[in-house]
Amino acid sequence: MAKPKVKEINTQADFDERVRRLELSDETLIGLYRTMCTVRHFEYTADRLYAAGKVHGTMHLSAGQEAVAAGTRLALQPDDYLINHHRGHGHFIAKGADVNLMMAEFLGKDTGFNHGRGGSMHIADFQSNNLGANGIVGGGIPQAVGVGLALQMQRRKEICVCIFGDGASNEGVFHEALNMASLWKLPILYICENNKYGMSMDVERVVAKLPIAQRAEAYGIPWSTVDGNAVVEVYEAIKEAADHVRAGNGPYFVEALTYRYFGHSKSDRNLYRSKEEIEDWKQNRDPIMRFTKHLLQAEVFNEEQAQEVDAQAEQVILKAVEFAEASPEPDLSTLMDYIYA
């Protein structure tokens, strides 16, 4: 089983070599960059809307983790299924969800993906095989077994990608599900997005043996860990895993090491980590900053072009806010809708 060591910071030479070997075109690379910028603008805008009192409920922002979403998406087929967790905005955007409908859902509007019934934590987009985020930590992990089983029984070639946090790996269903997925050789790619904390709890304080991914070994599932802040490395690791799964070899488990910038949710005062730690990740390991530097040095784009892509991404999000704000609230007469089919 391949167990690549996580390299904290990849060099330009590493990067260039990888891009060449993986045959990533400039267009593809800029696409990754665009996705990451879009996610980041979505998250910072969400935070701003929240601060402005426009958001009714809670939210779990993924700023700092954009490379996992973007790199994963590039390694998948458009029809692959996604089941993810509460910190899911990035995954949806990367999978191509309409940000207008996401933002509308975030503001609880009737035009949102879920007619305002779900909010940030429960966005789903069945048209793009995005089966929804889960507010119960670990709740989606066993459901992926069912999705994988249906894909297997229906003799289909899509795979199911299931994304969850480090904290979720301590739920009992994590272990039940990995065992069953492996027993039945189901087409499931499990991705643990280890952002170092589950709410306030450092993984070191709650996981008896790290890396989390090695737990997969107990269930006979191949695993790897990857620097989740290096988008091309994420792509490579997920591609390798996805190919394995798609070829009918059963599940694969990838742990991506990353970091979240915002607090856990709206109530977080960041008392469990230092300002220095947060600044260190932001200044030295930011996934977008690192990728931008590499792309500039590799002359995939220049400073001006980079800024233009970023500005375009921002525009997309601002338009989404306009759409969401102009959208109607759900009519109170529809309160009892959607309970039973």
Binding site: N114, G118, A124, Q143, C160, G172, A177, M180, Y340, A341
Partner: protein, 328 residues
């Protein structure tokens, strides 16, 4: 019409539906060669093979979650929870997940699963294998809770449950498994959410579920000899509850007794009673409404103790006589 047991009727429904609809499959613990703890799925592995009679590890939460996930891709899973007591290990997937997904996702999906679970005492299985937890399951909008008392109802409700686009908890009773009744060979469904008047009568309405239906019908025959006519209503579905049939009946009889095996405190009798006393039927009541639930204790092991943990024939009879005589 052929006679068969309650257990055979459920098996026949599963069998026929699996023949008719290839999206239907079974999953659960020991449901293959062993045939399930009660032998309900006996013979099905040979007929349908291991892919559609899927034996799982002892992982209740993930059994239900697997059904949920597969249903999102168009399958029609029927999961077995070996004893109803173990549904508590899967409650997150039933209550927080299956019941809410359609709603949370704005009506854009549905979760057509059936979760079968045998409940009830009477087999000496003691406190962790004998509970009647149906009242708990009624507290989750989005879920349906079905609870047949006869072989005929069991088959018709099972076919309806599998075809229903919503998550259905199908609550069976271990003591009923061996009871017999007439069951048509053909395909028929019994609508979910519709109660049945199992016996018409003018003096008192008794609402009861699973084995209490059988007991009450038996007592009603005896009381009829004394001129007391008992109307027996089996809700058949507890969620959604057919309060209309019950209210109409009470309007006619003026008396209401609810009997169930589930622990009295927090039991579904409270729900029935609240629906009736809050309706125009209140004005027709001749006596206070009463309930007779299981004692508020864990089910004991000892035969004698176990028996007296839940309402007995004599208790039900005494309640009815007291209410009809007006000496409440």
């Amino acid at each position: 019409m052929p006679e068969m047991t309650y257990l055979e009727a459920i098996r026949q429904a599963l069998w026929q539906e699996m023949k008719r609809d290839e999206r239907v499959f079974l999953l659960g613990e020991d449901i293959g060669v062993y045939g399930g703890a009660f032998g309900l799925t006996h013979g099905m592995l040979d007929e349908f093979g291991p892919e559609r009679v899927r034996e799982t590890p002892i992982s209740e939460a993930t059994i239900v979650a697997t059904a949920v996930g597969a249903s999102l891709l168009g399958m029609r899973p029927v999961a077995e929870i070996m004893f109803m007591d173990f549904v508590l290990l899967a409650l997150d997937q039933i209550a927080n997940q299956a019941a809410k997904m359609r709603f949370m996702f704005g009506g854009r999906t549905s979760v057509p699963i059936v979760v079968r679970m045998p409940g009830g005492s009477g087999t000496g299985a003691a406190s962790q294998h004998s509970q009647s937890l149906e009242s708990i399951l009624m507290h989750f909008p989005g879920l349906k809770v079905v609870n047949p008392s006869t072989p005929y109802d069991a088959k018709g409700l099972m076919l309806a449950a599998i075809r229903d686009p919503n998550p259905v908890c199908f609550v069976e009773h271990k003591v009923l498994y061996k009871t017999k009744g007439e069951v048509p060979e053909d395909d028929y469904t019994i609508p979910i959410g519709v109660a049945e008047v199992k016996r018409a009568g003018r003096d008192i309405t008794v609402v009861a579920n699973n084995i209490m239906v059988m007991k009450t019908l038996h007592i009603a025959e005896r009381l009829a000899q004394d001129g007391i006519e008992v109307e027996v209503i089996d809700p058949r579905t507890l969620l959604p509850l057919d309060t209309e049939t019950i209210i109409n009946s009470v309007t006619k009889t003026g008396r209401l007794l609810v009997v169930h095996e589930a622990c009295q405190t927090g039991g579904w009798a409270g729900e029935v009673i609240a629906s009736v006393v809050g309706s125009p039927a209140f004005d027709y009541l001749d006596t206070p409404v009463r309930r007779l639930g299981g004692r508020d204790i864990p089910i004991p092991y000892n035969r004698g103790l176990e028996k007296f943990a839940i309402p007995q024939d004599a208790d039900i009879e005494a309640e009815i006589r007291m209410m009809v005589s007006g000496k409440v």
